[in-house]
């Protein structure tokens, strides 16, 4: 039974463009700085909002250490110029961290315990590698066979999903190809312009002859991942990287990326107080657990669960942002649930656009809400599989 006392509205949603890791345009940009940038971007979109009225800043991050450690949410909000009274917390549900942050923010408001919260996510995979700077496995994983899968890398789980759900190499490559084509078309037609807050990159390099520091400045406003030179032939030539004679390649997996996103969530009272117009409404969110060795099927459990929870049917959804961790698991989810391919990732997905782990959820909420509005559609979903065997799904309504 819902304890909801009020609705949670999304007033602003912004993101950085997504850079390729570890050698892309943001390779030297700190994830806390990227978070500062998106916090400032959503603040700018909420003219009239008293920053002191912000009840909390919740940021998702999948590897919260080093440059994105020591509670990056609090660090970034202070650096962003928000007042001391605004608290901040960093949360981690791996790839669903950013979406989880939005859900947490919405739930605090829905319970009536808060009115204004910024939900966000940030991740630099260039600076903090996939499993963190220090990998230290628990010996217990290797004592019982049933626990070994906790140690599995994501790639192996994708191979297992491809096998069990019979997703062939060609289908995966074709799916990847579509992702790139859709993303390129979206960039060309300016679909991402509303959500992207262009990022000014500044690098300081030594001139070893003059002994001067050269400052190189540029502004990044476009996602770096989509490749115009991708074709099925080239994709077919790639070797499987996670298994000998496997089907999962660098071409049909999500890209490692750097990026950040932020979403301003408010109650109706706050909207009224600060005279702001919402772009969307949060409807519901859930997570579900699955076996770690086939973590990619997480959405198969999460999607029906959340739909049941919010009383909507799959067909009611106009737009589904399904995080393309791997083409193999995306196709398993699509086929198993009978999702409409046209509605899934109409602007491309993580295979082309990249997947900055903990930031992805917040980034894709921005994509979804702006997209639904531009295309005059109503219900949408952001969903993803999560490492060690989970699925997450959030439902939104565009206003």
């Amino acid at each position: 039974m819902s304890k909801q006392t009020q609705d949670a509205y999304i007033v602003a949603a912004a993101r950085t463009p997504v850079g390729k890791a570890p050698r892309g345009m943001f390779k030297n940009v700190r994830p806390d700085d990227m978070l500062v940038h998106v916090l400032q971007a959503v603040m700018q979109q909420c003219e009239g909002l008293d920053p002191a009225a912000i009840d909390d800043v919740i940021a998702g991050c999948a590897m919260p250490e080093a440059e994105q450690g020591i509670n990056v949410a609090r660090v970034a909000l202070l650096l962003a110029g928000l007042p001391d009274n605004v608290p901040g917390m960093t949360i981690n549900r791996f790839c669903a961290s950013g979406l989880q942050a939005v859900a947490l923010a919405a739930d605090r408001i829905r319970l009536g315990e808060a009115d204004v919260i910024i939900a966000a996510g940030t991740e630099s995979m260039s600076m903090i590698p996939m499993m963190g700077n220090k990998v230290a496995m628990n010996p217990a994983m290797f004592i019982k066979d049933e626990n070994v899968a906790i140690a599995y890398g994501m790639g192996i789980t994708a191979e297992k999903v491809a096998q069990q759900w019979k997703v062939g190499r060609e289908q995966q490559d074709e799916f990847a190809m579509t992702s790139h084509q859709r993303a390129l078309k979206a960039i060309e037609t300016g679909e991402f312009q509303q959500e992207i807050a262009p990022y000014p990159v500044e690098e300081k390099r030594p001139d070893l002859t003059s002994h001067e520091v050269k400052v190189i400045k540029s502004v990044k406003d476009t996602d770096e991942g989509p490749r115009a030179d991708t074709n099925l032939e080239a994709l077919a030539k790639l070797k499987s990287v996670f298994a000998a004679n496997g089907s999962v390649t660098a071409g049909n997996s999500s890209q490692m990326s750097d990026g950040a996103g932020a979403v301003m969530v408010m109650s109706a009272a706050a909207l009224q107080r600060f005279n702001l117009t919402p772009i969307g409404r949060f409807i519901g969110y859930t997570v579900a657990g699955v076996p770690p060795e086939i973590m990619g099927i997480g959405p198969i459990k999460a999607i029906p669960k959340v739909l049941k929870q919010v009383g909507l049917h799959q067909d009611d959804l106009d737009w589904i942002e399904l995080n393309e961790a791997f083409a193999a698991q995306s196709l398993a989810v699509i086929n198993e649930l009978g999702l409409d391919r046209a509605k899934v990732n109409p602007l491309g997905g993580a295979i082309a656009l990249g997947h900055p782990l903990g930031a992805t959820g917040a980034i894709r909420v921005a994509t979804l809400l702006h997209g639904l509005r531009r295309h005059h559609q109503r219900y949408g979903m952001v969903t993803m599989c999560v490492g060690s065997g989970m699925g997450a799904a959030g439902v939104f309504e565009a206003l």
Partner: protein, 832 residues
């Protein structure tokens, strides 16, 4: 006047072609800042892009011209338009542009004003006249000019021919020679300014003679290669495969130079590019670089050009077994007599190619070289033969062979009718009766025996490359067993050398070494482990030594480098199996005996580490498995750049157990930051589990087999000198062995689990087998100090016990036994 202590702070190479770039690479191998000049690319935003591209290519070339790929960054790419001014600071400038006199002349005019006051300028020409080139330089520069002829690939080929022009200042050449010998590690031969100098002149004539006789006797290319390769002490690539490697266009060019410049040569008629060779060059089949030449690799098959059938055929020819038996005869006198007496065309062919080569060398010696030693060494160092022509002639019986050559000249069988020069018979009647003697080698100009160079640099070569006929006595014996010999050179440093094949280590070597350490502790100031020829040691031989140790001809420099060309993984594995020749012990199920041997091995390693006198390993060539472990346990290693060091046991399903894992774990703990050795151990694990073999002493430092303080030297003939100096320095510094570490932090159970985390993904991805997983897990277990709470403190004995236990456990598995047996039998890895 050039200072005798000629130091090269900076060098420049002009021309970024194959040779120029590789010479630059070898200069940075020697830690010399180097500029690489090439023509500018006006279209590029970086006019030095062509040189930069050549430097980039060096990283991918095989065999590797750079001792460490990262050293490429120390070669500065420059161009003739912008950077000539930088030449002023270069102490040595080597020109290596295309072989065109007009281009070279233009370049010399352009650079001359920029050369520093004392800069030595030298040309790497292989065919042009040094005196003619000198004319393009201002007179005041000519005394600092000479030819400096490197051989391809310059890192690996020992020879440099140094060719003075008429105005060259001898003191300049002496200074340059000293530099090239010590700092670039080369064998320098002073050559005369005659076409193609010494090595190419003789080497290419030899190829022409082989082509001539092969045609006459109707022998196919692949058969000729079988006859003229390792069976007669030449590289395995023999004649025609060498031609493919060198490039058929290059070979044709060299032959062309001989044709154009040697009109009065009695063999001039043979200086012709054969039609078939010309045809190959015309169609772009230039050998290895174009994927097709005299040979062609189709899939895994080797096909060879068949002139009769006018196409490529599968290379299937085999040697006549009688000829093979004949060639394997130990006594060269009997061998040559049999070759000449045989009517078999293969035997007659072999006699003919030797006869004409001897004839040619005798006639031309006075014109092209200072003495017979220089000619022989040039061929050995430049072409990788085990013996030069005069040496072969001498050991085959100078008088008899001379007589046969004379007979063949008289009967018109030889390629030229020119009589042998008189000295050939004169030396036979003189008291020395040989071309190489203890007093020196024959020099036609003085008609006397010329001793080796008296330049001070050669004092560092206690045992230079010796020729047949030159006696060598390795100091005075302290004691000698069947397995080792301990000796000295008249000072306070003791030397121990192994007598086993490939200097492997068995129980007798261990006992001998033990005795040597004890003896050194009693009566000597330091102990150096040095072998009279490479390798340092191919590792442990766990097979009980029942057979008498055999002495084997050391592999030639060329064979060694060819070996490296092959996929290293395979050769590493083979070496690993050989180094652990366990077959017998296994069949007899003598695990207990093996365990005892391992224990002895560990004790010896520890004794090397904690002996009361400094121990120094003088490393050259392979140091594998147990050999590597000795190196790691000495106080110092002095290694030649061409040292190939590795703990390769994992290649055959085992792990290092002579203290190797212990030492690596200890080093990781020493480098631990915040008491956590794991970040280091991750790399160590990969090194051990992947059985990584360092491809140079520099790389051995990166992999942790050598320490930062271990000197790397360039010339293997200076190795003993350098090692003794290090040993003495340690002794003179009041040497005490280190205190035994008693609190080594371990990565423990978390470290093992983290490595297993990597392994389980490889296992699930079918990249490794269950047995690979087991081996990897055992290695992780030992390196991480076993199943302990992370950060626990252990001593060395703790690690040694883990090593022994894991080794025996792996050895007891059927799959490891199958791997060893398979690799020993086939030379290839077994995946099971």
């Amino acid at each position: 006047m050039i200072n005798h202590r000629f130091m090269v702070r900076k060098a420049a190479v002009l021309g970024a072609g194959v040779m120029g770039a590789q010479i630059a690479a070898h200069l940075v191998n020697a830690n010399i800042e180097t500029l690489l000049f090439e023509l500018p690319d006006e279209k590029s935003s970086d006019p030095s892009a062509p040189a930069a591209k050549a430097i980039e290519k060096l990283k991918k070339l095989e065999p590797a011209p750079l001792s460490l790929a990262a050293k490429a960054a120390c070669i500065q790419p420059v161009n003739y338009d912008q950077h000539l001014g930088l030449l002023t600071d270069c102490d040595l400038v080597i020109e290596a542009i295309a072989e065109r006199i007009d281009w070279k002349t233009d370049l010399y005019l352009k650079i001359a004003p920029h050369l520093g006051q004392h800069t030595i300028f030298a040309s790497n020409t292989s065919g042009l006249s040094i005196n003619q080139l000198a004319q393009a330089l201002p007179e005041e520069l000519r005394h600092r000019f000479c030819g400096i002829h490197f051989f391809n690939p310059p890192r690996y080929m020992h020879l440099i021919e140094l060719i003075p022009c008429q105005e060259s200042d001898i003191s300049v050449l002496d200074a340059l020679e000293a530099f090239l010998v010590t700092y670039l590690g080369k064998g320098v031969i002073r050559a005369k300014d005659t076409p193609n100098f010494i090595a190419n002149r003789v080497g290419v004539f030899s190829m022409l003679a082989i082509m001539h006789h092969a045609k006459a006797f109707g022998l196919g290319f692949d058969l000729v290669d079988k006859l003229t390769g390792s069976l007669i002490g030449r590289p395995k690539s023999a004649t025609f495969r060498t031609a493919d490697l060198v490039g058929l266009d290059v070979l044709s060019h060299v032959i062309g130079t001989m044709h154009d410049t040697l009109h009065d040569d009695p063999w001039h008629a043979y200086y012709q590019v054969p039609d078939w060779l010309q045809a190959l060059v015309d169609q772009g089949a230039l050998g290895q670089k174009s994927g097709k030449g005299i040979y062609q690799k189709i899939g895994k098959e080797i096909h060879v050009l068949d002139l009769e059938k006018n196409g490529y055929q599968l290379a299937t020819s085999t040697l006549d077994s009688d000829i093979e038996v004949l060639l394997k005869r130990k006594d060269p006198v009997e061998k040559f007599a049999a070759l000449r007496a045989s009517e078999h065309p293969q035997a007659q062919f072999l006699w003919a190619i030797h006869r004409d080569l001897f004839h040619y060398c005798a006639v031309h010696l006075a014109a092209i070289a200072n003495n017979a030693r220089d000619l022989d060494l040039a061929i050995r160092w430049g072409f990788g033969w085990n013996q030069g022509p005069f040496e072969t002639w001498q050991i085959a019986g100078w008088k008899q062979v001379t007589q046969w050559i004379k007979e063949d000249i008289a009967s018109g069988k030889s390629m030229s009718k020119t009589p042998l020069p008189a000295w050939v018979e004169d030396i036979e009647t003189s008291e020395r009766r040989a071309v190489h003697t203890a007093q020196g080698s024959y020099a036609p100009a003085t008609r006397s025996m010329q001793s080796r160079s008296a330049l001070p640099v050669y004092k560092r070569q206690l045992f230079p490359d010796r020729l047949a006929g030159e006696e060598v006595v390795y100091g005075e014996t302290i004691f000698e067993t069947d397995a080792v010999r301990m000796w000295h050179t008249g000072d306070e440093i003791a030397i121990v050398s192994f007598k086993s094949k490939m200097h492997t280590v068995d129980i007798d070597v261990l006992n001998g070494l033990q005795q040597a350490i004890e003896e050194a502790e009693h009566r000597w100031r330091a102990l150096v482990i040095w072998q009279t020829e490479p390798p340092f040691s191919a590792g442990a031989n766990l097979q009980k030594a029942t057979e008498k140790p055999k002495r084997e001809e050391p592999p030639s420099a060329f064979d060694q480098f060819m070996k490296k060309v092959k996929k290293s993984a395979q050769s590493t594995l083979l070496q690993a199996a050989r180094s652990l020749d366990l077959a017998d012990a296994l069949m007899a199920g003598k695990l207990a005996e093996v365990e005892m041997l391992i224990t002895r091995f560990q004790q010896l390693s520890q004794h090397l580490r904690y002996s009361m006198v400094p121990t120094v390993a003088a490393v050259d060539g392979l140091a594998l498995g147990g050999g590597c472990e000795f190196v790691m346990h000495c106080d110092r290693a002095v290694a030649t750049l061409e040292s190939y060091i590795g703990l390769v046991e994992a290649g055959v399903g085992l792990l290092p157990a002579g203290g190797g894992c212990k030492e690596l774990a200890l080093r990781a703990a020493r480098n631990a930051i915040d008491n956590d050795p794991f970040p280091q151990l991750k790399h160590t694990f990969q090194t051990v589990a992947m059985a990584q073999l360092a491809k140079s002493a520099e790389q051995a430092k990166e992999l942790g087999y050598l320490r930062e303080a271990d000197p790397v030297i360039m010339n293997r003939f200076e190795l003993l000198h350098a090692a003794k100096v290090q040993a003495l320095a340690l002794a003179e510094s009041g040497y005490r062995p280190p205190l035994m570490p008693r609190a080594i932090p371990v990565a423990g159970s978390t470290g093992i689990a983290t490595i297993k985390g990597m392994l389980v993904n490889m296992l699930e991805g079918h990249f490794i087998s269950e047995h690979d997983y087991l081996i990897g897990s055992k290695i992780a277990h030992v390196l991480c100090g076993g199943d302990l709470t992370p950060g626990s403190l252990v001593d060395e004995e703790w690690f040694l016990r883990l090593e022994r236990t894991a080794f025996i456990e792996l050895l007891a598995t059927e799959k490891t036994q199958a791997r060893i047996a398979h690799t020993l039998k086939t030379g290839k890895p077994l995946r099971n």
